[in-house]
Symmetry: C2
Subunit: 123 residues, 2 copies
């Protein structure tokens, strides 16, 4: 988990599809964040949080639909939080999670081939 959780895109990374070779350090950071995505349970968690009422969910909201134990769900939520893909807000005794659309968009943009990206920018 440390190998995944430590990765977070804090500074701009050149897209691997930008037309110039990506630097080794950038590739490592981007791979770390992509590893946070690249897990079926974490994709389902993102999906469940995103489709929850008001776009937020607590750990207990997520265990039953996923069919996973609370510690396992908490482990996956921690990886997603450390990668910056979701954020956690404590209210009273409960913690609520919501997705961070800007962070997710930034990753999607890095994986968008240049032609499409260029089209988007000029519009």
């Amino acid at each position: 988990m440390a190998d995944v959780g430590a990765a977070k895109i804090n500074t701009p990374v050149v897209s691997p599809l930008a037309g110039e070779p990506i630097k080794r350090a950038d590739a490592e950071r981007l791979a770390g964040v992509l590893k946070a995505f690249a897990d079926p349970a974490r994709l389902r968690l993102l999906s469940l949080i995103q489709s929850a009422p008001e776009g937020e969910a607590s750990v207990t909201d997520l265990t039953a639909p996923l069919g996973l134990s609370q510690p396992t769900v908490s482990h996956h939520l921690r990886i997603l939080t450390e990668a910056g893909l979701i954020e956690r807000e404590k209210r009273g005794v409960w913690a609520y999670y919501r997705t961070v659309p800007a962070a997710i968009s930034a990753i999607a943009d890095l994986l968008t081939p240049p032609r499409k990206r260029a089209t988007r920018k000029t519009r």
Copy 2:
């Protein structure tokens, strides 16, 4: 490698960010393709191929800039090919690789949060 290489998005997958829970099988397929991306050497390979003259490169073009052995480069190229992110064309004794922008875009779209995706569609 089989766990990664076997994954390929052949049929449409609902985005994990679409606002309805993604199915377990879809999450597994998408995670498989994301695993192909989520590796520093493979991100650098995609980047080198994309920035090569005419957007294509052979294994021997890629070993020196990556600083990896030919079998290791071939292994990573196979994973990217099986995931559908690059394609291989044999010409004479050489094989040339190029990226598959449509496949890469499809994955980027699945990771694009709905607000941004909706904006793109309506334009």
